[in-house]
């Protein structure tokens, strides 16, 4: 098992290198100078042309492209992400302030969607053909079609503006509030973010469970005389989980991408909102770096999903 995990991490490295290279390329393609985001802006304002030129030399900005890339990479590995062109705050500080909120939102949405989706999917499978199954399937089909932001708008309109039972947004920046205090703010964004994933997991879980229930080993299990619930859940569900977990792994990028829009609508202080603001103000380096982080998140989450899959299905690990 540990060799499996190590292998997965090792495969991550070349991919991250290539991506970081592309990101740097993206940054280079923008008009403007790298010096603009490598120097604290107050220093930038006070320097004259000669000093700036000396700076460029010192920073190695006149070095060949590849050398600059390596230096930038080196800086990145040490936590030096440069400064935001807009606010002058070091990017690292920005990330530290905003990343936890996004993690809180996405993890909540992920866990909620997975659990609800699987439960509903299993219920549909066990009660196949009944009214409940048909209604849930219809909701599922609509659920994957509703634009996430529309759902968010409807929720805000309904629950906040008209019914006044949930706050409209603007959860305070991550400081000093307990989880329970944050909960009312978390409910709507998490539900909206996870809605289409829930629908997808439910549909897929249903078909996977139906598939599993028709398999031969279910009959074998029954022929041993063990209770029906054990047959359905231990033998049926457990085996049906693997494809569902794989599906969730595939949907991770969409989840993190969805966080961008959801954070914007609900004013959630995460890196998604930061990203949108950066795009709006053409703050290229910040855009690129947040982009890089989003990929990092996806890849790390994928590894976790792979590990869970291997735990569920021993055939994978050993192949």
């Amino acid at each position: 098992m540990s060799s499996y995990i190590i292998r997965k991490f090792l495969m991550l490295i070349p991919m991250l290198l290539v991506i970081s290279f592309l990101i740097y390329l993206g940054m280079e393609l923008m008009p403007g100078d790298a010096v603009d985001f490598l120097i604290p802006p107050d220093a930038l304002a006070t320097m004259n042309q000669e000093q700036l030129h000396a700076m460029r030399e010192a920073l190695g900005l006149n070095d060949p492209f590849f050398l600059r890339y390596l230096k930038w990479l080196w800086g990145m590995l040490h936590g030096d992400f440069g400064y935001s062109m807009q606010s002058g705050v070091p990017v690292l500080t920005l990330m530290k302030n905003h990343l936890p909120a996004t993690i809180e939102l996405t993890v909540t949405a992920l866990v909620m969607s997975s659990v609800f989706g699987i439960i509903l999917g299993v219920v549909c499978a066990l009660k196949k053909g009944t009214v409940a199954d048909q209604i849930l399937s219809m909701i599922g089909m609509i659920g994957v079609a509703v634009p996430q932001f529309l759902l968010g708008l409807i929720c805000i309109n309904g629950f906040s503006l008209h019914l006044n039972i949930l706050p409209v947004g603007g959860r305070m920046a991550y400081a000093g509030q307990t989880f329970l205090e944050r909960l009312p703010y978390l409910v709507m964004p998490a539900v909206v973010l996870g809605f289409s994933l829930t629908a997808g997991v439910m549909r897929y879980g249903r078909s996977s469970m139906l598939d599993s229930m028709g398999k031969d080993y279910m009959k074998t299990a029954r022929s041993k005389g063990i209770p029906e619930w054990r047959v359905n859940f231990l033998h049926g569900l457990r085996t049906a989980m693997t494809p569902v977990v794989v599906l969730i792994g595939f949907r991770l990028p969409m989840l993190i991408g969805g966080a961008v829009v959801v954070e914007e609508i609900f004013q959630w202080p995460g890196i998604g909102g930061l990203f949108v603001a950066a795009v709006r103000s053409q703050n290229t380096p910040l855009v690129m770096i947040i982009g890089f982080f989003s990929v990092l998140l996806v890849l790390l989450a994928s590894i976790i999903v792979d590990i869970i899959t291997a735990l569920l299905d021993p055939r994978i690990k050993l192949s």
């Binding site: 080993y217 009959k219 022929s223 041993k224 209770p227 457990r238 693997t242 299905d313 021993p314």
Partner: protein
């Protein structure tokens, strides 16, 4: 009932309900199993052999029903009517595994791929309270694997089905089935998915079970060769009826029903060379939803007469241990049957 009979099926009728149609799959079959004897149920696909096994185990699908008949099982002197039990109830579940166990055709798909073999055997042991805890169950599992001839059982017990070969998988399944010492073992085409050489090993294993454990074995197959090899008694099924049954040697050497005769003639025999006279049975099995009236085999029978096409023959006695459902059996009955 003599004390050797452990399972008795009388006039069993089972209907399947699909797509708003009813399919009368079993039309009144009767047979019995005795301790330490092997009964082979043989027939083509679709004749109802597996349905019989499922009915005995209470594993019929939800949309299938026992319409008439009895399935009697004797356990420690008590007679239990399986046909009247709730299929998912406690009593039926207790019988499964402990009283009657079943093994299936494809061992690779019949075992759950995500659990180790030892776990699956232990599951049966723990639920039927043959082992007090997981450790004991594991020890017993290792013993069982060893007794079935699996080498290195201490290592194998923690391995997964996909790491076993086909033959070993089947042995593991037999180990699992025998773990709670059932009186009856039902084997549904256990070697169809295996190589011929492995087949022989599994059959040896079954003979051992029969002789050492006194287990009654109901072996379902479509292969007459298997019947010749293993059966003490045989029941030939066609389209939901047992058309001939009795002592294996008698049925095979002096077959009474045209179908049995036709089956025997259509199988190539090793050693007779390529000039053998193979005679495939003409025609095909009728559509189950559109059955012919009268004897189901009549359309394909070379000896069919008017009476055959009109009514289904009742069971006639050919000899002391030999019965057949035919108005005009090939073997002259020792006792003349009524002709009506």
């Amino acid at each position: 009932m003599d004390h050797k009979t452990v399972l008795q099926v009388s006039d069993l009728r089972v209907n399947f309900y699909n797509n708003e149609r009813s399919n009368r799959v079993l039309r009144g079959i009767s047979f019995h199993l005795e301790k330490g004897k092997i009964l082979c149920i043989v027939g083509e696909s679709g004749c109802g052999k597996s349905v019989t096994a499922n009915a005995v185990m209470g594993l019929l699908p939800d949309l299938a029903r026992i319409e008439e008949g009895e399935i009697c099982f004797w356990q420690e002197g008590n007679k239990i009517r399986i046909d009247q039990l709730n299929r998912k109830g406690k009593e039926m579940r207790r019988i499964r595994g402990e009283g009657i166990a079943m093994i299936f055709q494809d061992p690779m798909t019949a075992l759950n791929p995500v659990f180790s073999v030892g776990y699956q055997i232990s599951e049966a042991l723990l639920y039927h309270k043959k082992a007090k805890n997981k450790k004991e169950a594991r020890k017993q599992s290792i013993e069982l694997l060893k007794s079935m001839g699996i080498p290195l059982p201490e290592k194998r017990v923690d391995e997964y089905p996909h790491q076993f070969s086909g033959g070993m998988c089947q042995r593991a399944m037999i180990a699992m089935a025998m773990s709670c010492q059932p009186k009856v073992l039902i084997a549904d085409e256990p070697t169809t998915a295996l190589d011929v050489t492995i087949q022989a090993q599994i059959f040896e294993l079954m003979k051992v079970l029969k002789e050492q454990n006194d287990t009654a074995i109901m072996l379902i197959t479509h292969d007459m060769g298997v019947v010749a090899e293993l059966a003490d008694e045989v029941a030939v099924m066609y389209m939901g009826n047992i058309v001939e049954s009795g002592d294996a040697r008698q049925v095979l050497t002096r077959s009474a029903h045209p179908y049995t005769e036709a089956l025997l003639k259509s199988i190539p025999v090793l050693g007779r060379g390529k000039e053998q006279d193979l005679q495939p049975i003409r025609g095909t099995t009728p559509d189950p939803y559109n059955r012919p009236p009268g004897c189901q085999f009549a359309p394909r029978c070379d000896f069919a007469r008017e009476k055959c096409r009109q009514e289904m023959p009742p069971e006639m006695t050919v000899s002391d241990e030999h019965f057949c459902r035919c108005f005009y059996p090939l073997t002259k009955p020792e006792v003349e049957a009524d002709e009506d």
